[in-house]
Subunit: 298 residues, 2 copies
C-alpha cells in the first residue's frame, strides 16, 4: 500500500513506457506548466490539442523547445475536445486531460457516444485521494465534484468506481465507510437509509471487492479511538480507506477541508469512464495537479 | 482578536470572579476529570448534581478531597437535569453542563418553560470554534451538531447566535460566509438560494452586526488565493470568520475534518439559550472539553 504521493510518483517515474496524456484546449498557462513538470519528471508524455500559436508561446515562456512537443492545432474548444477523445478512442492517446475550456464542454465530448469512452449506465465520479499522515496512509473521498445528489443506485456505482483505484493504491480489500452525520439509523436522515441498504447489499454479494459499513460519522470512520468510544466494532470503523459521502455538498466540504485546513497533499481522480480523466481546478496547487496526473497514469 | 485557545484560557484564568458551572448527572469519569482540571486551572467553579456516592468515588480517584466540592445528591438523571436548570434560573449557577445523561434529556430540561432559559422562537445551535494556525486566527463553524436541515429563518438565527460569540472573540464585525458546494447561484441547489436570500437580507438591514457573502465554496471562503483565482472580491471571500454550513451533514463533516484530519484545536459552544450550554461529546479530547468550558465562560 502506498503511504504517500512520493511513493506513487517514484513508481510512475520508474516505468519504461510512458502513458500519453492528450490535453484538450492546451493553451493554458497553469496546465502547460504542469505538463512541462510532469514530462521533465518522466511521469507521462503529452499531446497538446489547441491553439498552436498560443501553446508555443506559453511553452517558450517556460524555456521549452516547442518543436519537441506534439501539438495539434485546433483553436476551437469544442473541436479540440472532440479531437482529444477521438485520439483516445483510436488508441493514439491514453488519457484525456482538460485544458482551457469549460468542464461541461470537456465532459460532453467524453460522453459523446461516437468515441465510446463511457459505457451505458455508467456514472462518472470524482475521487479525492489524500495523504493521511496521522495514520501514515492514504484515504479516498468520493464524490467531491460531480454528482450532486446521488441516489442508492448511483452510490453503488460510486463505490464500484472507487474500489479499483484503491486496489491500484495497494489496498487489496478496501474498507468503505458510508458517511452520515450520525452512526445510527434515522428515517429522517436519508443518508442513513441509503447506508443501511448499501451495507445489506454488500452482505448479499451485490457489491463486491470491498468491506462496507455505515452510517458512520466521519470520526467513527477514520479514528479507531472515536469508533471505540461509540462502541462501534467491525473491520471498517476507525480504519476506512474510502469515504462515500452522502452528497456533493458534504463531499466538497471535506475535499476542501483536507486541503485548506488539513493542508494535506491530495490529488483528484475521475473514474467511471473506460479511461481515467484528468480534470484539475484552477485553484489546485501545482503539486496537487501533478498528483492528479500521477493517479491517472497509475 | 484571540489567535488561539491559549490566549482565551489566559484571559479566563485571570478573572477574579469565577463563573459557576452546574453539571447535570456529574457521575461521569471524563466530565469530572475535565472539571477537576478546569477548577485547578482557575477557569471556572463547579456545582455537581448527580449520584453523590459515585461522584465522590470518582473525585477520590483523581486524588481530590470530595468535601471541597459542592455536590447535590440527585441520582435520577431527569431530576438532576431539572435541578441544574432551576439553579441557573434562580442565579445559583451560571452555566449548565451535560454530564452522564442523554443529550435529549439534558436539552428537554433546557427547553422546560418553567426555567425560562430559552426565549420563544429562539433556535439553539452549536458553533465549533477552531484554531486556524495557517492564518494565525480562529474560525467558527455552525451548525455542526443540532439543526439537521435549517431553513432560511433558522439560518438567520444561526448567524445571530454566532455573531455575539465572534464579538467576544474580539472580531468587531465578523465576516460570515454562507457555504455551498459552488460559489454560483443554482436553483437546483437549495443552499445557493438561501445564501442569496441571506445576503440580500443583510443588505437590507434585516441581519445586523456582520458582513455576509455567499454562496461560497469552502476554499473561496477561507483562502484568499482561491477567492482570487475564482474572481470573487468583497470583504468576506477568503477571510471568513464564521462559516454558515448548509446543513448538519456538511457541518458535522467539517467539524470532524478539522479535528481528525486537520488535527486542529477546537471547542464547541452551544448558543441560542439565555446562557451558554456546555455539551461535550465522549469522543472529544480532554483539551477540547476544556476549550468548550473556556468558551462558555468567556
Amino acid at each position: 500500500m502506498y503511504a504517500n504521493f512520493g511513493e506513487i510518483l517514484e513508481v510512475v517515474k520508474g516505468r519504461q513506457e510512458k502513458r500519453r496524456i492528450v490535453i484538450a484546449a492546451a493553451q493554458d498557462h497553469e496546465v502547460l506548466e504542469c505538463a512541462v513538470q510532469a514530462r521533465k519528471q518522466g511521469i507521462a508524455s503529452f499531446i497538446l490539442v489547441g491553439d498552436q500559436q498560443k501553446i508555443e508561446e506559453i511553452l517558450k515562456g517556460f524555456g521549452e523547445d516547442a518543436a519537441s512537443w506534439e501539438i495539434i492545432n485546433e483553436p476551437d474548444e469544442h473541436k479540440a475536445a472532440q479531437k482529444s477523445m477521438s485520439m483516445v478512442a483510436s488508441g493514439e492517446a491514453d488519457i484525456p486531460m482538460k485544458g482551457l475550456l469549460h468542464t461541461a464542454t470537456f465532459m460532453r465530448a467524453v460522453f459523446n457516444k461516437e468515441y465510446g469512452l463511457v459505457a451505458d449506465k455508467s456514472v462518472v465520479s470524482c475521487i479525492t485521494v489524500s495523504e493521511f499522515p496521522a495514520q501514515g496512509r492514504m484515504i479516498m473521498v468520493t464524490d467531491s465534484a460531480i454528482n450532486v445528489s446521488p441516489d442508492y443506485d448511483a452510490k453503488v456505482k460510486l463505490i464500484n468506481n472507487a474500489v479499483p483505484l484503491a486496489v491500484k493504491l495497494g489496498i487489496a480489500q478496501p474498507k468503505v465507510a458510508v458517511i452520515g452525520a450520525v452512526e445510527t439509523v434515522n428515517p429522517a436522515m436519508q443518508e442513513t437509509i441509503e447506508a443501511s441498504m448499501i451495507c445489506k447489499a454488500a452482505e448479499r454479494g451485490q457489491i463486491k471487492g470491498c468491506l462496507i459499513d455505515g452510517p458512520l460519522a466521519l470520526d467513527n470512520a477514520i479514528s479507531p479511538q472515536a469508533a471505540e468510544v461509540k462502541g462501534i466494532s467491525g473491520p471498517v470503523a476507525g480504519q476506512a480507506d474510502i469515504l462515500l459521502m452522502p452528497n456533493l455538498l458534504a463531499g466538497n466540504v471535506l475535499d476542501k477541508a483536507l486541503r485548506y485546513f488539513g493542508e494535506l497533499k491530495t490529488g483528484s481522480y475521475i473514474a467511471g469512464a473506460k479511461v481515467p480523466l484528468v480534470v484539475t481546478s484552477r485553484s489546485d496547487s501545482a503539486a496537487n495537479k501533478i498528483h492528479a496526473i500521477a493517479l491517472s497514469v497509475l
